[in-house]
Symmetry: C2
Subunit: 374 residues, 2 copies
């Protein structure tokens, strides 16, 4: 589930998480029905999970299911409707009370048990056949909710159990977008305003604040130019080949495997002439079951740029300033590194290192830029 809220305080990937801060920064949006409705109104998301369950009833009929982060209870309800014997629907926020109400209103209280608490703390009476969860954040891993799904799997999935979804991939592609110009203008406007402010503060109030220009401009650059943005791109904004930068088998991945995403890949800018504004990142997940117990119908949920099937996740865009004018097919050798923010393990830091080469042998300086996924 993509959530737009973020915060500053929180735990690091290696230290304990301040629960109060984690709740204030992360969990609290999920306690609102309005936010649940936003996700329930995402037809692409809903169709994918609905089809994944109902076209694969063999995984559910007579089985036990755990829904990690049940929210309003929708996946738990579908699991029960698909024939599950018992469904444990775990939810950390007070939304669990609404899930319980919804389960009862749909007459499934004998099958679905809603449990309020975090996956790391609650106990179940038994191990389960299926773990179903909609845990994906922007660019897949923002929010780090998958840690809780891995914890659930390690604690509660039977050795023969199936993960829904079973696989996930992260993608990156070079793009063009007018949003880059907007942000550049916003930044320049903020700096123009700052210089006027400096003059006024000196003239009227006798205080020279020019020593703060550097930190102010760094703060504004981070905010306008170095923070990834949400965008719902059209495929014609993707100007070159997309590359898979991470593949996850949800049955076997560990938290350690996802603490960082490191990838070297090539991409060819082939839609020329164009402006190379930066990169977009997105993900897809797959419902394939497991080798010994596969899906009858494999389902894919993709958040790739699409003319009609955009999702609430959009894509995350990372802009270079200034954009590069590209006149001929151009090769990019990209090193990508994403790590968790020290201040808040649910937020990310990203680094792109791009070497650009053209057929005409023109050598361009490499690009190295850091970004924040807030």
């Amino acid at each position: 589930m993509g959530s737009r809220t973020n915060g500053v305080a929180g735990g690091s990937s290696s230290g304990p998480v301040d629960k109060g801060a984690d709740f204030a920064n992360y969990f609290c949006t999920y306690g609102f029905l309005y936010h649940q409705k936003e996700m329930l109104s995402d037809r692409v998301r809903m169709d994918a999970y609905y089809n994944a369950v109902f076209k694969n009833k063999h995984h559910f009929q007579g089985k036990t299911v755990l829904d990690v982060g049940t929210g309003s209870g929708i996946l738990a309800i579908w699991s029960a409707q698909a024939g599950a014997r018992k469904v444990y629907a775990v939810e950390a926020t007070k939304m669990s009370e609404h899930a319980r109400t919804l389960v009862r209103a749909n007459n499934l209280q004998d099958i679905v048990e809603v449990i309020e608490g975090s996956m790391e703390e609650i106990d179940l009476p038994e191990k389960v056949d299926v773990i179903i969860s909609e845990w994906m954040g922007y660019f897949l891993l923002r929010e780090s909710m998958f840690d809780s799904v891995i914890c659930a799997r390690d604690r509660w999935l039977k050795p023969t159990g199936v993960m829904y979804p079973s696989h996930a991939r992260m993608w990156v592609a070079p793009i063009r977008s007018g949003l880059a110009d907007q942000k550049k203008n916003d930044y320049e406007g903020a700096m123009d305003d700052w210089y006027g402010f400096l003059e006024d503060t000196k003239d009227y109030y006798g205080v020279d604040m020019s020593v703060l220009t550097k930190p102010f401009s760094e703060e504004q650059q981070k905010y306008y130019l170095q923070t990834s943005l949400w965008s719902n791109l059209h495929p014609n904004q993707v100007i070159g080949t997309a590359a898979v930068i991470k593949e996850i088998d949800c049955l076997t991945v560990s938290v350690n495997d996802i603490l960082q995403v490191k990838s070297s890949f090539s991409s060819v800018i082939n839609m020329v002439p164009t402006r190379f504004c930066g990169f977009a990142g997105w993900f897809d997940v797959h419902f394939r079951g497991r080798g010994e117990d596969p899906a009858q119908q494999e389902i894919e949920l993709t958040t790739a740029p699409s003319p009609n099937n955009g999702t609430h996740w959009g894509q995350q865009v990372f802009f270079f300033h200034p954009p590069l004018h590209v006149d001929e097919e151009t090769n990019l050798n990209v090193s990508f590194l994403m790590t968790r923010s020290k201040e808040n393990h649910r937020l990310m830091e990203v680094e792109f290192d791009v070497k650009i080469s053209k057929p005409s042998d023109k050598v361009l300086p490499p690009i190295n830029k850091k970004f924040y996924i807030e």
Copy 2:
């Protein structure tokens, strides 16, 4: 300082505050230079404090000063420029580092000592002659920062010491505003959308969510109709007499005195015919010194509706739905009660109880409405 961020978690007025949550919900905005600049760009605010200090240098010359919540350090710097012997500038966020830089750049490091920490925890080497602070939130008490100023006063102000500001008042008046209609429309739009969502979820996904209509509508009502709004009103939107609902002597007030604001007052709607949309709340503060050591020039900072001298605080508006059409001079007997939210002591709950009487002896039903200051 008025800050638009708010959160959900936090301490109650009687229980301990979860520091991590308090930081995530409250303190974090103040760590941004952009936010400090917003407050420093408020000319009415800046003029008032500047004049309060420089037209009352006798309070500062050769004296010791404590600036509670120094932010960028501006009040501490002015205190030093006005002749203070020593200024302690206390700031809970990392903004303290910028304050230290600013002090040095203005060559005042021998006078101004910036201390990072909360007023409740840090120690000073001596008591002070003056406590200066810009602690006011929306409608004066939102953010409950004044608690920290009272704590500072009880710990560090000499028996002969002076508070800057010395007094504060809260005001309420009946108003008209187009914003009320906007919010009503927003709410109705959200409910229309909800009913469409219910149909789709039932038709496409086989789940009846109608049992959630009541909690959803309550959530949306709270958000659109029962939460006070920021507005910068024009005086011609004030349709009746304004009343003082709280008077504070900053030298003697206790935290207990401000845990709740309770007032019964009358107001006459005299700008008729009009639409009585609800009430606005605002505040003023005064720099009068103390009885035995008064200001040479008393300064007032008011946030009342003004055509040209609006502040970043604006006013807080509380709308009744639907508005009342008022054709003749009408008397309002109002009972007002404001208390701190149990979930977060920095946020407020407000109750208006309004008895309406007209000269024509028409008796209208009383209005009783609860609001949230988030």
